[in-house]
């Protein structure tokens, strides 16, 4: 009888130990998952004169009102607009600004995946990008952004536009901080040995970090999106062109 009781007590102690271990392990794993970094970005336009500045004021105002967040951990990042309401968008300027500034970007450096969400009408697509989308050339030029020394990097990208019948050329430029060793950035401007704190895709509209919050708490999970159709850049370009042609010339 006594022996049975001792065996029972031992089993109970073992079970409790396993339960406590599991509990601590789960807490540890959960806390690791929540340990992400958040950076807030805003958008503006590099000025080059006053004349047209006034002319395009409404759209620029819409760009300036937008706010984006880059959330990342050691391996993944998402870049998306901050959820907020934009009042007085009767002319659809915010809609245009948001479309141009991007909806959602995802990057995973382990699986080497990079994608951007895009929409045509009510259909949602995830455009699969080349993982090393930009071949960066790093210069020795520096500037301080929010206390971080940033280096300038430039790249080149081109793409054929069927609707225009010409090749578009872009010269992206970014400023990245090697002291924040995360290969992420806004608007898919990434792949550098440091976080991008300022960057432009076309040399005019640029994204700049306003709050750099290391180790922030967020409920957003850095998961690969699944609620849309995955297409390559070429496929998406074809769908977009076909849709535009139907709308413009098919009526």
């Amino acid at each position: 009888m006594m022996q049975a009781l001792i065996i029972y007590q031992m089993k109970l102690t073992k079970n409790i130990s396993i339960t406590v271990f599991c509990l601590f392990y789960c807490l540890f794993v959960t806390s690791q998952n929540n340990k992400v970094n958040c950076v807030t970005y805003k958008i503006d336009r590099y000025t080059y004169g006053d004349e047209k500045e006034v002319k395009d004021n409404e759209l620029l105002r819409a760009f300036r009102a937008l706010e984006y967040e880059l959330i990342y951990n050691d391996t993944r990042s998402i870049y998306k607009p901050v959820d907020k309401l934009y009042e007085g968008d009767s002319d659809g300027e915010y809609q245009i600004a948001q479309m141009l500034a991007g909806y959602y970007f995802f990057k995973d450096i382990v699986t080497k995946e990079k994608m951007e969400q895009s929409e045509i009408g009510s259909s949602k697509f995830y455009v699969i990008k080349e993982f090393e989308e930009y071949k960066w050339e790093i210069s020795s030029e520096t500037k301080i952004i929010d206390g971080y020394t940033c280096y300038k990097a430039t790249s080149y990208k081109e793409g054929y536009s069927e609707l225009r019948g010409r090749v578009n050329k872009f010269f992206p430029t970014v400023w990245f901080a090697p002291s924040i060793p995360a290969p992420f950035g806004p608007y898919g401007l990434d792949g550098l040995p440091g976080l991008v704190l300022e960057g432009t895709f076309n040399g005019r509209i640029y994204f700049y970090a306003t709050h750099i919050n290391r180790y922030c708490d967020t409920k957003i999970e850095l998961q690969k999106p699944t609620n849309g159709k995955y297409v390559t850049e070429k496929e998406f370009s074809e769908i977009s062109t076909k849709n535009a042609k139907e709308n413009l010339y098919g009526r």
Binding site: N168, S237, S240, N247, L248
Partner: protein, 79 residues
């Protein structure tokens, strides 16, 4: 008799000409140039100010300005 006929013709001519002057000239909104041309112009202008657009951005912008132009045309004559 000739006088009567002449007076009648003169009267008709006078009334006609005076009527012609008082007729209200209906204001016809001249439709803007083709909405496609208008949209292309606007997107080009946008690019001048804000930098080049990618292929898909261009398609989106073009449709946006085109739809805006079309809806303005519809608004002129709701019937």
């Amino acid at each position: 008799m000739k006088k009567v006929i002449f007076s009648a013709i003169a009267m008709i001519a006078f009334v006609g000409s005076s009527m012609a002057n008082t007729l209200e000239v209906e204001k016809i909104e001249t439709p803007p140039q083709s909405c496609i041309s208008s949209a292309i112009f606007q997107v080009n202008e946008y690019e001048q100010i804000n930098g080049c657009l990618s292929d898909t951005q261009y398609n989106f912008m073009l449709q946006h300005y085109f739809n805006k132009c079309q809806s303005k045309l519809t608004a002129i004559d709701p019937c």
